[in-house]
Symmetry: C2
Subunit: 202 residues, 2 copies
DNA sequence: GCACACATGTTGACAATGTCAACATGTGTC
DNA sequence: GACACATGTTGACATTGTCAACATGTGTGC
């Protein structure tokens, strides 16, 4: 038939089209935003027909849910890595916040898929997505508990503390990718970090 | 011709279709989310043809920009009202935060239009939208300056303080309407308020 | 070795949607 | 009272998500 296409990794034409679809979706979203994602073009790019996707994802929203899930996974891993690399402590805490915002700034459209309500209806149907999101959140809870054990953070319920911090950082990330910040995001992040430390310190 | 329709306010069939379009868009979004907003159905609901809209808005994104602008206006007015009703101070500050989150929770889809990146490209073309957003933000800056003059808030640059607080509250609002909060939004808000006070207090 | 079930992929078709061009009409101005 | 202009309509078109029907390759039980 056609060019038989570049075979990804090992086998492609047969093989994991599923992965390829997800990666192509990620690439498209990264470059043109969610609105640029069309099932037809994704298929086209992969040398596969428009509806081939339906054998791997029930829906367009299912594909978006997978994109969101992948985002949470990456985010969780990056945060954990940064935290460990800095050996925890306030330094690790600061680095986690910076890395979080950096992720959003580096992948604004991807981040929007994760939090833009695209998967609201699908989210309730996709427990894996919820789980992945919870996993990323848990990393923050763990970090806070660690800080508490070192006597650095006030002994409030870790869940509440984590919720508060997450909201702050999430807010900065959102405003940043929305272009609503009136100052460089790094400055806002630094300032927020100082105030948060003061707010939750023991 | 047809039923000549219920005339809104004074004159409708002639009169301000512009307003009617905006209000109908608001209603639709409130009930079914942004994705439920279709130009054709809006026209249909108003007993007007699909493309009549184009005499008042250049684009669908222009309509969305108007929706966002209206949101910022309402938000600004509500925050100002609450602040003044409580006579400023920490009480007014708390009330503003609560009112902000309440607005988002009451109109989740509308709030998403304001911050969901739907008007990114349009935003740069619609200076009125930017201005309305800046106006809402200015209310917060003013409040903080007032608190500073009372010696309640540390003498950091008001802009930075406002940015930080806005991000925190915005984050809570976003997570709330995304269903990502693991606790009642009121609890999260209260807790955040305490921590923020500690963080920015003198 | 082979037939059959099943996963995977394709083509055709359809309704919904945003948008443009061409046309119609009512309103106010000199 | 005629003319310019704002406002609204109809026709048409390309794009998109999705379904149904069909094709095909792959592996399993004999």
């Amino acid at each position: 038939m056609q060019s038989m296409a570049r075979k990804r990794a090992n086998r492609y034409h047969h093989g994991d089209l599923s992965r390829a679809l997800l990666q192509e979706a990620l690439r498209t979203i990264q470059r043109g935003g969610v609105e640029a994602l069309t099932l037809r073009r994704v298929g086209e790019k992969l040398g596969v027909s428009r509806t081939a996707l339906y054998r791997h994802f029930s829906d367009k929203s299912a594909l978006l849910a997978a994109v969101a899930r992948e985002g949470f996974r990456t985010l969780r891993l990056q945060l954990l890595e940064v935290w460990q690399k800095h050996g925890g402590g306030w330094e690790g805490f600061d680095a986690m916040g910076a890395a979080y915002v950096q992720f959003a700034v580096d992948h604004p459209s991807h981040y929007r898929v994760m939090f833009g309500g695209y998967v609201d209806a699908a989210g309730l149907r996709d427990p894996e997505l919820m789980q992945e999101g919870a996993g990323a959140f848990q990393g923050l809870v763990d970090a806070i508990q660690s800080l508490q054990q070192q006597g650095l953070v006030r002994p409030d319920p870790p869940l509440q503390l984590a919720q508060h911090i997450w909201a702050s950082v999430h807010g900065i990330a959102m405003l940043a990718i929305d272009g609503q910040l009136k100052q460089p995001v790094a400055d806002v992040g630094r300032f927020a970090n100082e105030r948060i430390r003061t707010g939750i310190g023991v």
